[in-house]
Assembly symmetry: C2
Homo-oligomer: 331 residues x 2
């Protein structure tokens, strides 16, 4: 079973950590003009993998005929490549967001509708597979806090110095799309409820010379059954902080509260306040491959990947326009 990797600008490490012995990474190629694939080559070399190298990913796909392709190039190009790989009936593990415009997302939805019985894809929502998130999900599913009423989520990153393409909306997509989308996926995954409307704001002030990149954002969602959810996003985590990111979730239910922070899980309910032993980490790409070879199923579905991207696009539109946006229920 053969894997090709396109691009070196996103989370290709998920594929390297999760790939299985009966699979082989056979070839790599850049996904965008001038994209530097050195980081990918270096990581593969450290694993003693020497793939074929192509300049054109189309040529690579035509010649290698892989079973699976991993797509992580400059963010605005991922959707085009996803469409090409799905058209070729190649299962695709693709960087999130799967599209940076509504038009691209519509193309994917339409195309996937015609090929969904032959091919699978999933966006790189690898954070779900961390021990603390898996544990929180298990507590929710176990009924430990009753019905969810309110969620507060947080994505806080160090900014550092980002590649040039982060500085332009047309190549980067925006901070709600690139960073906030993870929290949108958590909210979808945890609640399993439809999003009804979205209000968001974002700002480029104090982005340390990163052009159009938004350094702060705040999102406010209403879901079915009057469930509310917030996302606080910032790139202002100080350099001296002990970790790159500070992901948090607080889930308020009718019979308790779950908090995920510092990679731990705190459960507060009528049994008191307790840190919960963590479930073991899993690998999203292993699950993805299991879905393909029929030995298992992938928690992140094409539907989840489309949904989180659509909600992120709507949140960005809200932030760009200042309006509350209704979510069309046509998924």
């Amino acid at each position: 079973m053969k894997i090709c990797i396109i691009g070196s600008s996103g989370h290709f490490h998920y594929a390297l950590r999760g790939f299985k012995s009966n699979w082989k990474i056979v070839a790599i190629a850049p996904g965008s003009k001038g994209e530097d694939v050195t980081p990918l080559k270096k990581a593969l070399s450290e694993m003693n993998i020497t793939p074929n190298e192509y300049k054109s990913y189309q040529e690579m796909l035509d010649r290698e005929k892989p079973d699976v392709v991993v797509v992580n190039t400059v963010f605005n190009a991922n959707s085009r490549i996803l469409c090409e790989s799905l058209s070729r009936r190649i299962h695709t593990f693709v960087e999130k967001p799967i599209a940076t415009s509504f038009e691209e997302l519509e193309k994917i939805k339409k195309l996937f509708g015609t090929v969904k019985n032959e091919v699978f894809f999933a966006a790189m929502f690898g954070l779900r597979y961390k021990p603390h998130f898996l544990t929180a999900k298990a507590l929710l599913d176990g009924g430990e806090i009753g019905q969810i009423r309110l969620l507060n989520t947080q994505k806080s990153y160090k900014l550092g110095k980002r590649p040039e393409f982060y500085r332009r909306r047309d190549t980067y997509g925006g901070t709600i799309l690139w960073v906030g989308i993870h929290a949108i996926d958590w909210i979808n995954w945890f609640t399993q409820k439809g999003f009804l409307n979205v209000y968001a704001t974002h700002s480029r002030i104090s982005n340390n010379g990163h052009g159009e990149l938004e350094s702060t954002a705040l999102c406010h969602f209403v879901l079915e059954q009057e469930i509310f959810a917030s996302i606080s996003i910032d790139y202002l985590r100080p350099n001296a902080a002990p970790t790159h990111d500070d992901d948090r979730v607080r889930i308020v239910g009718t019979r308790g509260i779950i908090e995920v922070f510092e990679n731990r899980v705190l459960l507060l309910n009528d049994k008191g306040e307790n840190y919960i032993p963590l479930l073991p980490e899993k690998q999203i790409f292993s699950e993805f491959l299991s879905q393909i070879d029929g030995t298992g199923s992938c928690m992140v579905t094409p539907y989840d990947s489309i949904l989180a991207t659509e909600i992120a696009l709507l949140a960005r539109e809200s932030a760009d326009t200042g309006r509350v946006i209704q979510v069309c229920q046509n998924h």
Copy 2:
């Protein structure tokens, strides 16, 4: 110097903890028809204070001619009494919100404009005086995190069984007005920036039989300079929780982050991540009396009291209507 207390339905304890030896609590009265003032009488009796008792607060004010009146009756009646005391030129320490409708607030603003050189009032924003909040404010003023860009605040309470008047919007005012207003005051106090617009949602689902009381709410503010602020509000804190409330603030600045939680203050900036020794607690009513007798000044001003009430009313209106509300800059 003489103090009268009207009502027993709010935070009269602030007055009992903060009153000074050269002041005397001379009389009490209910502020609303049928209001039970037993809790107030009991607390005074434990301090060996035996005030005169009146059935009519108007008669009390006319006869006792106090220098200061403390007002904390059923929430919708506080604004009317505040107008009466200000008209009599009696300095007033009044429960927040100072009004539960725009019409009442307009009356207070208009009246105060005519008497402001003769009389002072402040709302019961006593949380500012807690060691953790004073410490956070001192860090901000000391420039420890640079310019504020983003604030996430939280009010989480145990619901328990509340008095009957909490169950009706017309007597309770709403959860954003009663609970969220504290966080609005923190945001105003910390940032010293104008509020530009407001979006909020609230829900009565799972309020454990409390009629119209909203059990959850989420508020989203845009302030000057594209500063964003959120408030998460809930009455779903489990009975088994170690404290009644779980107040939190996270303030993200251009050079660091301050967090207030569990009554502690964590500062993260280029000096690393450190818990900060707390400043001593202060008493809002002591400061209020110092303002009156000319020995000091009260941190909570009439302007702050009006502002927080106005923003809370706008947030409630947003939540009732689903619209983003612009804040008129006519303060």
